[in-house]
Amino acid sequence: MSVLVVLEQRGGKWNRMSFEALAAAEKVSKASGKPVRAAVLGAEVDALAQDAAAYPVDKVVALDHPLLAQYTPDGYTAALEQFIKAVQPAVIVFPHTYQVRDYAPKLSTRFGKPLISDVVDVRANGSVAFVRQLFQGKLSADIHGASDPQFVSIQAGAFRAAEPGGANAPVEKFSVNLDASQIRSTPEEPFREAQRSVDLSAAEMIVSVGRGIKEKENLPLVEELAKVLGAELAASRPICDNGWLPMERQVGSSGQTVSPKVYFAVGISGAIQHLVGMKGSKTIVAINKDENAPIFEAADYGIVGDLFEVVPALVDEIKKAKA
């Protein structure tokens, strides 16, 4: 019995979240006394497997097959199903990436289990429980699987990534049986949309607006704040989904990643997919009428209040300060 962590790579490069998942797996391992194993999938992943062996793991196993060169949910699920059946880990830990969201629930279903997804912490007092956020961060829950194996994915940024160091772990190969006929989907090459005309990553100051603004007609309010500050305007996803601001102004996991000197989050609740795009900002100011909004956990300065009153007052104060 082991704690298995499934590391993610694309084109021979690690997804950094893999090592955050490894850190979570270490915590489960300490609590349960079961060793951590790492698996890496792909075609010709020897070098990566060797690289993984330098991390704090008991063993690294390479699931190597030409049909795993390109990610497909059918290929990955079949390969890991065979491996998990063979080694019977107690807990299987993944980084909660878009790729994992795409196949891990399919895999866990083959074992009659749900995926305990997007976990932010591991609690270990006697037994192990996983902490998840509900309601986009407004509620927490402690959860455990009714029986092993338990399938768990770890939220971005929830754990400090494990570091390499110490003795090299042994590397093994697991031979996967895969046939092209098992793979139903044909992925094309990933691409980016045409060059963005705004590069928010270079902005020194950003005023970012969320659904709290209520209507497109109210946008001039935050535009004014951005203007007096000399800041770029950005937004949370729903604002761009509604077409109120162009997609290229979206901050978050599916938008831009920014790290300005000051980030004003105006009427933004602070869902994780937004936070990952802006938490590297030097100073974060949040304006929100809900004192329990998760954005306050990320903020240095929080104003609990109605943005329709606070923002105009702020514009006046900044004008005064700059005069």
Partner: protein, 252 residues
Amino acid sequence: MKIIVSIKQVPARDSALRVASGGKWLEDSDLTYEMNEPDAYALEEALQLKERLGGEVVVVCAGPERAGQTIREALAKGADRAIHVQAEEQALLDALSTARLLASAIQTESPDLVLTGLQSDDLGYGQTGVVLAELLGYSHATIVMEVEPQDNMVRVKRELEDGWFQHVNLPLPAVLTIQSGIKKLRYATLMGIKKAKTKEVKTVAGSPSAPEMVMDQVYLPQRQKQTLILSGDANKVAHELVEKLKFEARVL
């Protein structure tokens, strides 16, 4: 083209969340409900596909009695009929049990496409659609931003991380989990609301399987960071904030 859309009723976004005594779930009396937002986008995509290609849009929803209201809303927007799998909220806290209930209702319909939202706003498991695909034996794609059916295939545009996208081709039948923003949402018309009253809603009693996931307790998250919170009169807090930004953070 026959399209099933799975729609969940969730607590309204600005509901005050109060943990019920016993700490297992929320105080129900505080909550009002609405359609899960990504599901509204899944419905919109289904309706536009039907308008283009013909066929039928059937809504499936697992939930208690009150979910009927969200089902009517979907019918008012243009869905042709609905299946309401009746089950208590406690039985729907596990994504696998929920997907099993939905799968048994969908199986007999033999659709070409099943559209789900990519994630629920309350539980946020982000997996029910993928689990459904596995239970039904259908192909699937997640976080979908464009749907182009072609013969016995569908070509979709998937969103990847950091502004990357990818097209994927899948054989039908397929389950697609739809990302918010895929199309502009419509409102129900008065005519639509009227018509919805005459549309068929089949209710089936769901018999949930034993949960594989145990929710030990729910609680409000503890604050870990020292955030300086300013509250009170708008002019006063605006003044205080500007002082802080000027002299403490030194960013103005």
